[in-house]
Amino acid sequence: MRLPALRSLVRVARWPGLLLLSCALLACDSTTAPDKVHVEFWTMSLKPKFTAYFNTLLSSYQASHPGVALEWVDVPWDVMQTKLTAAIVARSAPALVQLNVPWAYDYSLVGALRPIDDLMGEDRALYTDGAIADLTFNGKLYGFPHYNSVNVMAYNTALFRQAGITKVPTTREEQLAVAKQIRARTGQYGFSPALGKIAGVFLEEGLPLIEHNRAVFNSPAHVALVAKLADAYKAGGLLKDKLFSEDNYPASIDAYKSGRMAMLEAPPSALTRVRDDAPDVYAVTDVAPVPIGGPGIAAGGWLFHFAMPRDTTGRVALEAAEFAKFLTNDENQLAFAKLAGAFPTSKKAAADPHFQNMPMDTGAYGKAMAIGAKSMNIVRTLYVAGVPGFERLNKRLQDAVESAIIGRRDIQAALDDAVAFWNSKLSP
C-alpha cells in the first residue's frame, strides 16, 4: 500500500481507534481492588421480587467481609442452562450458581461442577438429611442447600359443590375420577398433571422405570396408570393447554384463577397469586395435601441450592463457600422462606415455630403453608439418575406416553416400543 493511502486510513481511523483504546484501558481497570476477591453468583429468576432481600444480605456480608467483592447476577430460569453452559465452556462461569437438583446432576455428570465436600466440612450437619441426600451424586456433595418446595392441592369448592363431590381425593386414581366428574357436571377441567415429566409421575406412584438395568415401564401397573390418564384426557377432565409441556405451571395457574379448572397442584406460594389476581376464586378455595402415591412421597419437591462450577478454585472457592454458607444459614433461610412462601432446608429453620405451628385458619395460603410444612419430611426431588443418555431415552418414553394418552397409539404397544428402545441402549 502506498504511504498516502495508509496515511488517509490512519487519519480516518484515528479517533475511533483512540476511543476503542480508551474503552479497553477502562475495561482493564476493574472496579475490584487488586486485594479483593471477586465472587460472582447467579440466582434463578429472583429479581425483582427478592431484590431488596438480596441487597440487604449483600450489604451486610460485605460490611463484615471487606476483602470480598460480591456481584449478584439474576438469570431467567429458561435461559439459565444456556448461559451457564456457555460460561462454563468459556471458563467465565460465576463462583456460585443457583440450580435445581436435576440440572446440577446433569452438570455433575459431565464434570462441569466441582464437589464441595471439602468446603462444606462439618457444616453439612446443619442441613436436613433429605436436602443433603438430594445433592449427593455418586457419593459426593455438589451444593449448599437453599430452599425447597412441596406441592399442595388447592381446589375450587364451588366447582366441587356444583359437581356433587363431597370427598376430597387422596389418591391419583380418585383424583382422576373426580376430574372426569367435574368435566361431566360443570364443563370445566379437573386438573393438569405434570405429564411433561412423565418419569416423575411414574416415580411418584412408586412405579420404577428401571430394574436390574432393564426398562420395566411396560408392566401392567404402568399400563393401568397411563390408561387412567388417557381415560380422563378423553373425558375432557385434564386441561389440554400445555398438558405435555415440561413446565405446565403457568397454564395451570391461569386456568385455576379463571375458574376453568377445579384442582391446582402447586407450591403454597401459588396461592398468593390466586389471592392477588382472582380474589373471587381465592374466596372459594380450600387446600388439601396432594394425593400421595405408592412410595408415600409428597409431590412437588424441588430443591434449590448453590453449586460451584468446576473453575471455582483457590481463594475464590473458599470465599464463595463462606458466602454460600451465609446465604443458606438458619437465619437467612428462615427469612427467605417466609418471604417466598418456600420451605427451608436448614434443620434449625425448618424447626422454627413459623412452620411447625402454623394455624390452619389463616385462609387458603396459611393452610397451604401448614400442610406443606407437615409434608416436608416426605418430600424428595424425584428424577432419574445414573442412566447414560437419559435425555434421549426420556424423550422416547415421553412421546410414547403422549401418543398413548391422546389416543394415537395403543398403550401397551407404545410402552413396549419405548421399553425395547431403552433396553437396546442400556448396557446389558
Binding site: T85, G196, K240, L243, R392
Partner: protein, 320 residues
C-alpha cells in the same frame, strides 16, 4: 422463519461488478498501477468485515463441522468417532419427524411469496393513507419474535381469541387445540411464520415494483395490453430477480425455522412440531449432546444448499 438472514442479503447485481475489466483474460496483466492500488484499498476496507466473518462465522462453521465427527463433552477434549453421530441421527425417529416438518414448512414459501406480491401491488397504489397500511403490514417484521410468540400463544389458547370468535360465529362447538393438537400444531406455527414474513417480502417487492421504468408500462398500454396482461407480461418478468431472491431467502428461512417452535411449542405435542434446527437446538442446549446437534445442523445445511440450488436452477431469469 427468521427474517434476520434476509436483512443482510443483497439483490443480485444487474450488470458487471464495478471495477471489473471488460476483458477478464487481460486481468492479470492489468493489475498494476492505479488499478492494483484500488484493489488493495478495496481489500483493506473489506478486511474488518472479513476478519469478523472469519472469527464469528467461518471458524465456527469449520470447527463445528469437525466436532460433528467427534465424541465431545463440554469439558473433555473431543475424540474422533467418524460417522457415529450421523448413525445415531438415523436411529432417532424424532430426527426424521424434524426433517419432514422442515420440508413441510416449505409449503409456506409459495403462500408467502404470492401474498407478499399481492400486498406489494396493493400498497404500490397512490391511495389516501397508503403509508399507514405499508407501516401496518411491516409491523410484524420489527416486532420481537418473543412478543409475537406470546401474543399468538394467547390467541391460539383454547380460551383465546381465535376460538372465541369461531364459537361466537357458531362455526365450532368445542374449542380447538391449535397448539395442543398434534395434527394442527405445525400448521398453526406456519401461519405465524407467514404473518411475520409477509411484511418483509412485501417491502422487497414494493422496491422492485417501484424500480420498473414507467415507459415500459406506458409502451404496453400503447400496445393495447390490459391490466392483467401488463401484470403478467411486464411486471412479473421485470421483478423476476427479486422473486428469485425472495424465494431463496424464504426457502432457507423456512428450512431453518426455530424461534416460533422454541417459544410456542418446544417441539410438542408428541414431537409434532420439531423442526431440523429445533432438533439441533434441543440436542445441543438441552441435552448437552453437542456433536449430535452439530451433525443434525450439517444435515439441515445440506438440505438448505440443495434447495437453494434448485431455486436457482428453476427460477433464475434466463433473459434480461
Amino acid at each position: 422463519m427468521s427474517v434476520d438472514s434476509a436483512r443482510i442479503a443483497v439483490p443480485e447485481p444487474r450488470g458487471a461488478p464495478a471495477g471489473r475489466a471488460p476483458d477478464e483474460r487481460a486481468r492479470p496483466e492489468a493489475m498494476s498501477g492505479p488499478r492494483a492500488r484500488q484493489a488493495r484499498q478495496a481489500w483493506l476496507f473489506l478486511a474488518p468485515a472479513l476478519v469478523l466473518l472469519a472469527v464469528f462465522t467461518f471458524w465456527p462453521v469449520l470447527w463445528g463441522s469437525i466436532l460433528a465427527f467427534t465424541e465431545y463433552k463440554i469439558i473433555t477434549p473431543p475424540t474422533w468417532v467418524g460417522l457415529q453421530n450421523f448413525e445415531d441421527l438415523l436411529d432417532d425417529p424424532v430426527f426424521y419427524i424434524s426433517i419432514r416438518n422442515s420440508l413441510l414448512y416449505l409449503l409456506i414459501v409459495p403462500a408467502i411469496q404470492l401474498g407478499a406480491i399481492a400486498l406489494a401491488v396493493l400498497v404500490n397504489n397512490n391511495l389516501p393513507g397508503i403509508k399507514l397500511f405499508r407501516a401496518a403490514f411491516y409491523m410484524p417484521v420489527v416486532t420481537s419474535v418473543s412478543v409475537v410468540g406470546i401474543m399468538w400463544g394467547w390467541m391460539y389458547n383454547e380460551q383465546g381469541l381465535i376460538n372465541a370468535v369461531l364459537q361466537w360465529l357458531h362455526l365450532i362447538n368445542d374449542p380447538i387445540g391449535w397448539l395442543s393438537d398434534d395434527r394442527l400444531a405445525l400448521f398453526s406455527l406456519m401461519l405465524v411464520t407467514l404473518w411475520r414474513g409477509l411484511g418483509w417480502y412485501m417491502v422487497l417487492y414494493l422496491a422492485a415494483l417501484q424500480s420498473i421504468p414507467k415507459d415500459v408500462e406506458e409502451a404496453a398500454v400503447l400496445d393495447g395490453a390490459n391490466r392483467w396482461q401488463r401484470f403478467w407480461r411486464v411486471t412479473i418478468p421485470m421483478i423476476m430477480p427479486t422473486i428469485l431472491l425472495c424465494t431463496v431467502l424464504s426457502t432457507l428461512s423456512a428450512m431453518k425455522v426455530l424461534e416460533e417452535v422454541l417459544i410456542m411449542t418446544k417441539g410438542g405435542p408428541v414431537s409434532s412440531t420439531y423442526t431440523g434446527l429445533y432438533y439441533a437446538y434441543d440436542q445441543g442446549i438441552r441435552a448437552f449432546n453437542f456433536p449430535r446437534a452439530l451433525a443434525a445442523s450439517m444435515v439441515v445445511s445440506v438440505f438448505c444448499i440443495a434447495i437453494a440450488w434448485l431455486n436457482f436452477r428453476f427460477l433464475r431469469p434466463r433473459h434480461r
